[in-house]
Symmetry: C2
Subunit: 252 residues, 2 copies
Amino acid sequence: MRMYVLPSDFRGTERYTVVGKDVHYLTKVLRLSEGMQFTGRDFSGALWDLTIESVHRNSCTLLCAQTSEPQALTDALPEYRGPFPEIHLYQAVCKGKKMDQIVRQATELGVTRIVPVTSERSLVDMTGKEDDRRIRYEKIVKEAVQQSGSLVVTTIGTPIKLDQVSADWGHRGPACMLHQVSQAQQRTLAELTRTAPIALVIGPEGGFTESEVQMLIREDFHPVLLKTNILRAETAAIAAVAIVQHLLVEKL
Amino acid sequence: MRMYVLPSDFRGTERYTVVGKDVHYLTKVLRLSEGMQFTGRDFSGALWDLTIESVHRNSCTLLCAQTSEPQALTDALPEYRGPFPEIHLYQAVCKGKKMDQIVRQATELGVTRIVPVTSERSLVDMTGKEDDRRIRYEKIVKEAVQQSGSLVVTTIGTPIKLDQVSADWGHRGPACMLHQVSQAQQRTLAELTRTAPIALVIGPEGGFTESEVQMLIREDFHPVLLKTNILRAETAAIAAVAIVQHLLVEKL
């Protein structure tokens, strides 16, 4: 199902003018024209009844009214309507397309928040500077939410370093890191996945270093060994998110 | 961990001459030279002690002795050594890169067999003709097995049509299809995932048609609705395989 996601600069006004690529999406992809009503979603996840007031060459004006239940959808609603347990993905930044794929697929699955993390073996450091990547990730999120009709509008967190993950998380719930080597402190994903919110820390292509693992363990992040082959970062992230979501939803 | 996979034309001979890209892989990537011993795996999954007898410009000759336990590895073994429950993935063929990604990631996860399936909404029909795609998938499998050190050498089945899936499977174990619409007969993935071997049928980009779903139900393939958003085919396949594998491994 497709649901239009209002741009991130939408501030809940009664009238909003869409510009850029969204005009094409609304008028060509969804084939909406003046007077037509449809349901959209803003970046906070709130639903809006939207009516196309006017269409111009490079813009299109919408009348916006907040709503609690989708009225006029551009497509069928997904069968499963939630709940979506809160999953926070702390993902060590991978190379270009791999990270794009993780962001897209984690968004499809309905992850609450993806935080790009810099670790020792990361090939990219996004912290402490303006970075085009964040804008790209937000664009990927928007497309994936529209395409999957996700009821969660995934957010991209401020990029941080691995030693800031614990402070960012602040013991909000169980926390685990995927690590390919057994640790004495190790528990299984099924044991840890009892309640949400839950934090998942996934390493970069080369994994975490031993000292990084020890640091995370001291901060109550539990090392988890997935009982499978050694997975690439992008496969590990999606497999772990899918399993954790499945375990939490089954418990509800 | 990396483990060399012998080409599919290797027939268990005492001496085997490697040609083509594998020469580069052995001598440049793994940096093996004359006299060096390492462990490889053939397409049936059997382990071989291999010794480099001679290296030439475009070929390299190996002495091969079957073994039960890896002796000289080119890298560390993965921590998890199995078991890998038998999962058979009947995947409706998706467009080029998506299908490549499914084959690669399903192989990483240790799927036993991937069967390309033609359904009504498939954009590609691979049945009943020679198709380069199968050769490409086998190449992707080989690379993914080598890269992940998978203990399962995934096989690519003969492409079939959706109405042949049931005969191919032959009631070997539980069978489910992912479908995004609730069905009266529906059960959960957790209920169905009790024993291996297990069959998973995944639709193409546009999903299965209602009549296809009814046909599969009549043939004891249980419709399963993943409790998540509507996923793209490539995300659905990996999420489902990861969850099924996790559920089965936890039961062992």
